[in-house]
């Protein structure tokens, strides 16, 4: 009996000790808890600060630039010679060069990317998918400087065999490798969009006697169109921002030539060209860097936002 009592008191004693420490550590934990929460929020804030920094930096330096060059000259001028006399600041040739490469790349990547996506989601067996998907991932993971090498040592010589009068640096070669570069993106994203179309829609169409071609082109692709369009836009925005392959393959000659066989300069290639030289801070050449970068940033941002709007607003929701 006495033993039991003793046991009882020790248990009681222990539990009271336990209670005391646990309440202390609990309050401690709560203090640490809010400190940690603040730390995590700060981390999340880094991305907001990054965006703010990009926007403030680009726009303030661009405003400085517009103090010495009129916006009209910048946006509508057709000669771009900022680095030597007589200097001229018409950005249209750079936009033209970027458009030439981007349109060429899109003509290559969009049909083939969509065809691959259709094959992957509608025709390929699981085993084939397991081979193709990693290959696409690998293609997407190859650094762009490698595509630049590919353009210079493989695509351009091959093009010269077909078109002997093509220049060493030309827009066509750049467009081809950029097309290859964005193809995996179109294929993967469109594949995801097509696979999200419920199987019952396909079964319904097949039950009405449609062939696989009709099911794909008239049911599946229209049903997944928002995702497919978004993938096109994202790939185009990627092509516009692409730098190394274009710099290596298309050269450094800003002009508004219609020919894909000639050397051009894209916005990104110009930025690289300036940063390779020794450009003093604050000079007009340094400011053109920000003006062109702002343009690039705004164009890609608008395209990305449009693609998000298409995704959110036009998505067909099936349950």
């Amino acid at each position: 009996m006495a033993k039991e009592m003793q046991a009882d008191t020790t248990v009681a004693g222990q539990s009271s000790v336990l209670k005391a420490t646990s309440s202390i550590s609990l309050s401690k934990a709560r203090w640490g808890e809010s400190a940690i929460k603040i730390w995590l929020a700060l981390c999340a804030f880094v991305s907001v600060v990054t965006t703010a920094a990009i926007v403030i930096l680009l726009f303030s330096e661009t405003l400085n630039f517009f103090e010495s060059v009129s916006p009209a000259e910048f946006f509508f001028g057709t000669t771009w010679t900022p680095l030597f006399e007589p200097s001229s600041f018409g950005v249209l040739p750079l936009i033209w060069g970027t458009m030439l490469v981007t349109i060429g790349a899109a003509i290559i990547a969009i049909p083939t990317g969509l065809a691959s996506a259709i094959y992957l989601s509608e025709y390929a067996s699981d085993r084939v998918r397991k081979i193709i998907k990693p290959v696409l991932e690998l293609l997407a993971g190859i650094p762009t400087v490698v595509y630049g090498y590919f353009a210079l040592t493989f695509v351009t010589p091959a093009l010269r065999n077909v078109f002997p009068d093509i220049q060493v640096f030309n827009a066509l070669s750049a467009a081809i490798v950029v097309g290859i570069m964005i193809l995996p993106m179109v294929a993967t994203l469109s594949d995801n969009a097509l696979r999200a179309v419920p199987i019952s829609l396909r079964q319904g169409a097949y039950a009405l006697g449609a062939t696989s071609y009709e099911v794909t082109t008239r049911v599946v692709v229209p049903a997944g169109l928002s995702g497919v369009m978004a993938s096109f836009l994202l790939a185009i925005s990627r092509a516009i921002g692409e730098t190394m392959a274009v710099t290596l393959a298309a050269g450094q000659t800003p002009n508004m030539s219609l020919s894909m066989f000639e050397s051009i300069q894209t916005m990104t290639a110009y930025i690289v060209q300036v940063s390779l030289g020794d450009t003093p801070t604050g000079g007009i050449a340094y400011q053109t860097l920000f003006a062109v970068a702002t343009l690039l940033f705004v164009i890609t941002l608008v395209i990305n936002i449009v693609s998000q709007i298409i995704l959110n607003r036009f998505r067909e929701v099936y349950d």
Binding site: K37, F45, G141, V145, S275
Partner: protein, 292 residues
Amino acid sequence: MSFSSESESISLARRHRKAKLFSMFCGMVTWSGVVLLAVLLYQVSIDGFRWLDWQFIDSFPSRFPERAGIKSALVGTIWLISLVALISIPVGVCTALYLEEFAGKGKISKIIEVNIANLAGVPSIVYGILGLAIFVRYMALERSLVSGALTMSLLILPVIIIASREAIKTVPMSIRYAAYSLGATKWQTAWAHVLPASFPGIMTGVILALSRAIGETAPLIMIGALTFVAFLPEGPMDSFTALPIQIYNWVSRPQQEFHELAAAGIIILLSVLLLMNATAIYIRNKTERRLK
């Protein structure tokens, strides 16, 4: 009657033929992507294999192709990636934890979310300009490893955050409820249960993000890493060169020998990337099996 059924059967046959042709076309286009990758890899290895030996790995860049190597570029890349990992992994994973576990569904987290999605689409060269203006010039970190690592970290942060959030989302709520019911605080739950459970998914995303950082060239060129570097960096404040920069340097020279050196450099770069991708896929497959 018989006429119409005949024409119908012809058109049916035609429709099926069309379907068949279409499927073959799509298949051919897709497989040509695989062939393309094979051609690319074959071409690069044919060009570069001759130069690939220990001397190439253990030499500094040089004006003479037969003496040139990638030692400083390789060491520079290892330094850079280690620093990028040190900066970007904690910040990225903490952001993901905050958004998934702590922030709730308020306006602020919505703003951060949209913001991260848009940052992921910003061209890498714009990050380069940001790095040049803020880290190199304004903070006067010069053209050092730190500048490069900070710039690269900002570039891959959105990728790490998005991947980590996806991984954290897959952790079942029951695990959290179990921890809460035993008296764990929110952070204790997140740290001791949610994070370990989502660790493989986070690792996969982190490895893929880092492999992107290894291949990025444009931001490094912007912050001025393209210089002749014939020494090894000894600390984070030293100037440096990196693999893709060295490759760019060799590709942009006219001589054939330097193109072949670039190919040899590309073989090494792609091997590193392949190894990292394989690790990521291995982790992914292993955890998929465990969850089943």
